[in-house]
Every structure is written in structure tokens, then in C-alpha cells.
């Protein structure tokens, strides 16, 4: 089933249903992209739910998610299509001597011998899909240039076969951690969405959505601490997924408050670098202690 939402609110409601709490800009851009058939370029720090947005969109729109994870040295053969050499070789070997070259050539460059890679799959799918091109900033500029044809016209040229056009328009999301400047040409073809770490209130809602059994007071304390940790100059600041994990861990442990002890025991869920752990233990641990004393005194 696939529906086309008519208003940004509908997308927003749909996303909440599948467990993703979007802010106003996110649902607006998602709506526009779906409506105009334009790709979205999603940027933001690591761990704010850029990839999750694509997954949730696919779920709420009832489409299949095709994912292309980018990395250095990713080339057309791994992203678009590749000729199945082994099958071609077998075909040639199985051929009797007297078949003409022309006939063999026509034969082995047919669709039977084509290995579809993610981009090709997304284009040739009969039902519209959500195509996620993850961490586009990890690839080189040549690959970006190759994407241009796909993103603006939704078609792929294969020299031996001709042009393959999309029968349905996929919803394309490109994510980037902004670790290098993307080319203007690519940006120009996309709608732009910047996702930042959520505000306290927003993150609280997210945590409560995913760990509803957690006490409201602890949940609030948790997002406050996470915000505090993010403010430090860390190698890897905690992501939203990690705050959710932490909330679940606290639930399992049956914690009633986040004091220095619980914090030190469970800190490794949100901080994952040796040096970071030292910094966080030093800064946040001390603060928790003084706060804990304060509340303790108030309670007694």
C-alpha cells in the first residue's frame, strides 16, 4: 500500500505512529519531497536520527527501503550495476564453436547477465521505494557526479543496454555528516534539511515514546544529563539512540534516580571513548554529586 499525504501534518502523524517524532521542519521537507519528487539532503551531527528518518518514512509510506551505504572507493559497479562475469564466461564456454561472435555478444550483454545494485534496484522497482543513500560525504566527487543523472531525471544509462528510466518516482534521501563540502550541483538538485540535536523537551518526548515505563522525573533528569554531556568537547557525543538505550538500561536496573553511582555504572552506554569517559566522569560526575547532595538535603 502506498499513499500520498496531502498535508505536512499527515506525514508527521504517520511518522509518530511508527515511533519517529519529527519536528516541524522535518515533516514539512518530507512532505515537499514526496509531493515534488525531489531528493532530500539531510545533514546534521552523527546520531540525530538521519538514517532512522528514512526508515520511518519508508514504513509510514508503506514503501520498501533500498539502502546504499557509501564508503570511500565506492564505485559504479557496487552502486549501480555490474555485469555478471562468471555467468558470461560460462555462457561463452557453453557455446558451440560455430556460433557467431555477434550473436554471443547480443546474448551476454542482456538483462540476464546484469547484477542489480541498490541504485538500479530503486530505479527498476515496480512499486515506488524509499532510496536511502547513506553518508554521501564519505564517497569521492566522481561518485557524486554519477548520482546527478539519477537524482534529477531518475534514469540510468547503461552503454550496452541503453537508458533505463524509472517507472515510479522513488523518494530519495541522502544523508551527510558534513565532513566534506558536497558539490553545488548535487545540492542544487535537493531539498535541504538540517537536523540538529533535539531540544530538551523534544528529546524528553522521544525518550518517553520509546521507554514509556520510565518515570517522568528520571527521564527528564536523563535528557538533562545527556544535554550536559553533549556540551562537553567529546570525540563522540551521545546520540539520540544512545539516550534511548540508556533509558531502557535504567529501566532494567530499576534505578530510581540518576546519582553519581548509577551514572558511573551505566555511563558506558552513552560515552564510548576512553578519553571521553575520563572527561565525562570528571565533569558530569562531580555535578551530579553536588546536585544529589542538594536534593538530598532538600528531601531530609
Amino acid at each position: 500500500m502506498s499513499t500520498t499525504p496531502e498535508r505536512p501534518d499527515e506525514i508527521s502523524a504517520g511518522l509518530i505512529e511508527v515511533g519517529y517524532l519529527p519536528d516541524a521542519a522535518t515533516s514539512l521537507v518530507a512532505f515537499l519531497a514526496n509531493k515534488l519528487g525531489k531528493p532530500i539532503l539531510v545533514e546534521g551531527p552523527a546520531g540525530v536520527g538521519k538514517t532512522q528518518l528514512a526508515k520511518s518514512l519508508a514504513e509510514t509510506l508503506g514503501r520498501e527501503l533500498v539502502r546504499l551505504q557509501c564508503y570511500e572507493g565506492l564505485d559504479e559497479a557496487k552502486a549501480l550495476y555490474e555485469w555478471n562475469y562468471r555467468k558470461q564466461l560460462l555462457r561463452i564456454q557453453a557455446e558451440a564453436q560455430d556460433t557467431g561472435w555477434q550473436q554471443v555478444q547480443d546474448d551476454i550483454f542482456g538483462e540476464d547477465f546484469l547484477l542489480e545494485r541498490p541504485l538500479m534496484t530503486a530505479i527498476s522497482s515496480a512499486d515506488p521505494v524509499v532510496l536511502l543513500i547513506d553518508e554521501i560525504d564519505k564517497t569521492d566527487q566522481e561518485f557524486e557526479a554519477m548520482l546527478l543523472e539519477l537524482l534529477s531525471d531518475f534514469q540510468i544509462s547503461i552503454p550496452e543496454l541503453g537508458r533505463i528510466e524509472a517507472s515510479t518516482t522513488p523518494l530519495v534521501l541522502l544523508t551527510s555528516n558534513n565532513s566534506r563540502e558536497l558539490t553545488e550541483a548535487l545540492k542544487r538538485r535537493c531539498l535541504y534539511l538540517w537536523i540538529d540535536y533535539p531540544s530538551l523537551e523534544h528529546e524528553l518526548e522521544i525518550v518517553r515514546l520509546h521507554a514509556p515505563e520510565l518515570d517522568e522525573k528520571i527521564a527528564r533528569r536523563l535528557v538533562e544529563v545527556v544535554a550536559m554531556v553533549r556540551d562537553l568537547d567529546l570525540k563522540k557525543p551521545p546520540s539520540i539512540a544512545e539516550s534511548i538505550d540508556w533509558a531502557r538500561a535504567l529501566l532494567l536496573l530499576g534505578a530510581t534516580d540518576i546519582d553519581t553511582k548509577t551514572f558511573n555504572e551505566t555511563m558506558s552506554i552513552i560515552v564510548k571513548h576512553r578519553t571521553d569517559i575520563d572527561i565525562v566522569a570528571e565533569r558530569v560526575g562531580v555535578k551530579l554529586d553536588s546536585n544529589g547532595d542538594g536534593s538530598g538535603a532538600a528531601a531530609s
Binding site: L32, K35, L36, K38, E72, D140, N177, N178, R188, I279
Partner: protein, 485 residues
């Protein structure tokens, strides 16, 4: 059809579009389209690279949303026009300025004024319950209700600023109104429990309200004098390095974190498909197994990014105070990415601080230690380049080698002392590459006591006072050997 990649034709086209709409003396007649084209022009004027295709996107996107709602209108435009966090910041500033001015101009032209209804407001003002107003504003700030805040800003002005009584300086008026409203970030005790003031108001919200107050006052001023003040371009320094003592360290950090991330990946995009890459026989043979031993695909040895041995020498004297805060934090960031790096600071004398940077993870601690222990100021506290080069040469001349890179951060202002260029030339000739980063705009070079030219003949000098320039330099620094001339 994809739009032409070259920006020039599109720019010209939109200029033409703007031109054709001009004969309609009143911009309102030309409708929203002309306004948006004008808005795009203004964004371009502020340095946002905007293509016609992006404007077209904006046009096609607007009918899809209920764009008579301000936030939707703004976000739609932002999604189609501003494509990086930096552009978005500029977009927000220009958006506010542009549409504010556009509506005011239209109001002036058609003779719509607040005067008629304003007198009614004036009468009403005596009846405004000041305490209720305070509470409402506090509540609106806490709830971040933009629309309500706008209305309340007008009410507040009506209540506290009698027309003609303003100080003439908007900032002063804004602060006076804010004080009378008792908006504070710290918790206030003498209010009911459920009042947001009991816990203090968010600073960001108060700032937002101040901006609205300011806008509203500006609007009234325009109405009084019935003319628009001259359009001010965004201050160039808004986009310069976050360096002034007034700007907080947090923004420096933001830039540096970004830089760190870029440094980490820097040079890696050059790996792989280089023309002069060496074929990796082992991996090629391995890959050829797939094709029955025929090496159809060649595998190359990856080109490793260049990680040179760095000597960084930073001026920390008063003439470059603002820049050196930034440079020191950049040095701090570099230490994470370059293992073989030695850092020095200097004013009158030079002092090595490599160890400080390696020991301290925290930038604040670093700058404190440097301020306390480096002992680079002697008597006058003015930079003495001649002496610095002499001392530096003595310290590092045995360690300089053709694969070493020397980077100097300084303004090359000698305070009339001997520049010691021949000593600098010796340093430059012993090292492989020498760069000079000058925190002053090129315009001021060689002006007054700046002697950058006498050094520039021995090294590559770059101006470096915006983050973009700094990034550009880092690119040059980490580029693989083969790409350099």
C-alpha cells in the same frame, strides 16, 4: 532537463527577471513572484550561491503548502534555497530583514498606517493591566508562541513607550521595556507556582522577544518618519572568524570541531582513482579469480594522505589577541590530527608549548597555562620578529628537513623593529614548505608597520580571517604530494 552547472547564465537570467519586474513601480503589483526573485537577489548579494533552479523549486513548492502561515512559508523557502548551516544562518537574517522591509515599503506606498487604529491602542494603553501583561509575556516566552509574542511586543510598547518619548536609540528603548517587564532568566519567588517565571525564563526566548520588540519599534519609527532607513548589508564580520573577546568560546569550539572532523577525512577523497596510482598486484590477482584469471579490473594501491611533520609558530601578542584565541584553538585541533607536530608561541621571545598541548585535552586549560608559564613577553610586550627568528632558528635548525612544514600565524607587524627576514629565509630554506597565515585582510598588508612582503618572498602567505579561508588552507596543507605543482 538539468540546469546548467555554471552559475553565470542563471544569475544573468534572474537579473533579467528582476529587471523586467522593475518597471512596475510598486513591487506589490508584480506579486509574490517578483518579491521572491528580489529576495533571491538579496541572498546572492550576501554570498549565498543560489541557482535559478532553486528559485524555481521554491515556486513549485509554495503552492503545495499552506504558505500563508509564516513558519511554513519560511521553512519551505529555507528548504529550497539555503543548503548548508552557514547559508541557513544568512537566510534567516536576510529573510527577517527583507520581508520586514517589503511589508513596510508596501504600507508606506499605500498609505496604510497604524495611526488610525493606533490612537485606539493609545487609549487602550491606559487600561492595560501591567501585571497581566507581564504574566502573558512570560507564558508566551516559555511556550515559544511566536504569534502571541509578536502581538504582546506591540502591547508592551504601547504600555511602556509613549510615542515620541523614545530615546531615539532602539537598543536603549528595548532594554528599558525589558526591564519594566521584569523578564529574567533566574527563578522568581513571588509568583504563583504554575507561572513559568517561577523557574526562570529561557535566555533564548527573552532574546527572541527582544528582537520582536526591536522590530516593532523600528516599524513605528519608519511610520513616524515615513521613510525606510538605508538597507544595511550584513556585517562582513558576522561571517568572520569567531575571534573577538565578545564572542563566546562556544562558537570558536563549534568551528574547530567542524574543522577536526574535516581534518580527519581530509585527503582521503584523493585515495583510489589517481592517475599515477600504483597497481596493487596482489589484489588485482585476487580480483581476477572472479573472471577466471583474466585481470579485467585493476586494483590500485591507496594513496595515503600526506601527514607532514609540522612546526607551528603562533603570535600571541596584543595586536592579534582576538585572532590568537582562534589560532590557539586551531593548533589544539591540529594536535589531534598530526602526530608529528611541534608548537611554539611568541611575542618578544619564542617558547615551545608542544607539551602543554599534548598534556591538556581542554582548550581553556591550555590557554591558561600558556598565559602563565610560556614567558614569551619580556619587557615591552611588543612583538619582536627579528629576535624570535634568531631564537627559533637556534632551537629547531637541526630538526628542520625537506619534509617538514613550517606554519607561521601572525600579522607581521614588527612595531618598527628589525624584521630579520634573512633569518626567516634560513628557516624557510631548511624546511620543505613554509606558510604564513595572516589574520588581517589583504587590504591592510604592508600598511603601517606590517612587513609581510619581506617574509612573503620566502613562503606562501595566506590571508586567514574567515573559517572558509582557514579550511582552504587546511586543504592545501593536506593535499597529497602529486597534486601540488
Amino acid at each position: 532537463m538539468p540546469p546548467p552547472p555554471d552559475k553565470r547564465p542563471s544569475r544573468e537570467a534572474s537579473r533579467r527577471a528582476a529587471l523586467f519586474s522593475e518597471p512596475l513601480a510598486n513591487p506589490l503589483d508584480a506579486g509574490l513572484t517578483a518579491h521572491l526573485v528580489e529576495f533571491g537577489e538579496e541572498l546572492r548579494g550576501e554570498g549565498v550561491a543560489l541557482g535559478t533552479s532553486e528559485l524555481l523549486d521554491a515556486f513549485s513548492a509554495l503552492p503545495e503548502v499552506a504558505w500563508n502561515e509564516p513558519t511554513l512559508f519560511r521553512e519551505t523557502l529555507a528548504a529550497t534555497l539555503a543548503k548548508s548551516p552557514e547559508d541557513r544562518a544568512i537566510f534567516d537574517l536576510v529573510f527577517e530583514r527583507f520581508f520586514f522591509r517589503a511589508t513596510e515599503l508596501a504600507a508606506l506606498n499605500t498609505g496604510i498606517g497604524e495611526a488610525g487604529s493606533g490612537s485606539g491602542d493609545g487609549e487602550g494603553s491606559s487600561e492595560i493591566d501591567i501585571e497581566a501583561l507581564r504574566e502573558q509575556i512570560a507564558r508566551a516566552i516559555a511556550e515559544q508562541n511566536e504569534g502571541a509574542l509578536r502581538d504582546l511586543a506591540r502591547l508592551a510598547i504601547a504600555a511602556f513607550a509613549q510615542p515620541g518619548e523614545g530615546s531615539g536609540v532602539l537598543g536603549v528603548d528595548v532594554q528599558r521595556i525589558r526591564r519594566s517587564l521584569e523578564l529574567r532568566t533566574e527563578p522568581q519567588g513571588d509568583v504563583p507556582e504554575d507561572d513559568p517565571r517561577a523557574e526562570g525564563l529561557p535566555r533564548e526566548g527573552i532574546r527572541r522577544f527582544e528582537r520582536l520588540l526591536r522590530q516593532e519599534l523600528e516599524r513605528q519609527q519608519i511610520e513616524r518618519t515615513s521613510m525606510l532607513p538605508a538597507a544595511r548589508p550584513l556585517h562582513e564580520l558576522d561571517r568572520a572568524l569567531p575571534s573577538g573577546p565578545l564572542q563566546d568560546l562556544a562558537s570558536v569550539h563549534r568551528v574547530v570541531t567542524q574543522l577536526k572532523r574535516r581534518l580527519k577525512t581530509q585527503g582521503q577523497e584523493h585515495r583510489g582513482h589517481r592517475r599515477h596510482a600504483q597497481v596493487d598486484i596482489r589484489r588485482t590477482m585476487r580480483a581476477s579469480l572472479q573472471t577466471g584469471g583474466v585481470p579485467i579490473t585493476l586494483r590500485y594501491r591507496p594513496v595515503r594522505p600526506r601527514r607532514p611533520e609540522l612546526f607551528v609558530i603562533c603570535d600571541v601578542s596584543t595586536s592579534v589577541t582576538s585572532a590568537s584565541v582562534f589560532f590557539l584553538s586551531v593548533m589544539h585541533a591540529l594536535h589531534d590530527s598530526f602526530r608529528k607536530m611541534r608548537s611554539f608561541v611568541f611575542i618578544e621571545r619564542v617558547s615551545e608549548v608542544t607539551e602543554v598541548f599534548e598534556r591538556e585535552r581542554d582548550f581553556k586549560a591550555v590557554s591558561e597555562v600558556i598565559g602563565r608559564d610560556a614567558g614569551v613577553a619580556d619587557i615591552s610586550g611588543y612583538t619582536d620578529y627579528g629576535r624570535v627568528w634568531g631564537e627559533l632558528l637556534e632551537q629547531i635548525q637541526d630538526e628542520l628537513h625537506p619534509r617538514a612544514t613550517v606554519i607561521v600565524l601572525g600579522d607581521a607587524r614588527t612595531n618598527g623593529r628589525a624584521p630579520g627576514a634573512e633569518l626567516f629565509a634560513q628557516i624557510a630554506s631548511r624546511s620543505g614548505r613554509t606558510y604564513w597565515l595572516n589574520p588581517e585582510p589583504r587590504l591592510y598588508w604592508n600598511y603601517g608597520d606590517s612587513v609581510i612582503d619581506s617574509y612573503a618572498q620566502y613562503c606562501e602567505a595566506y590571508e586567514c580571517w574567515t573559517t572558509a579561508q582557514l579550511e582552504n588552507f587546511v586543504k592545501v596543507l593536506t593535499a597529497p604530494e602529486a597534486t601540488r605543482p
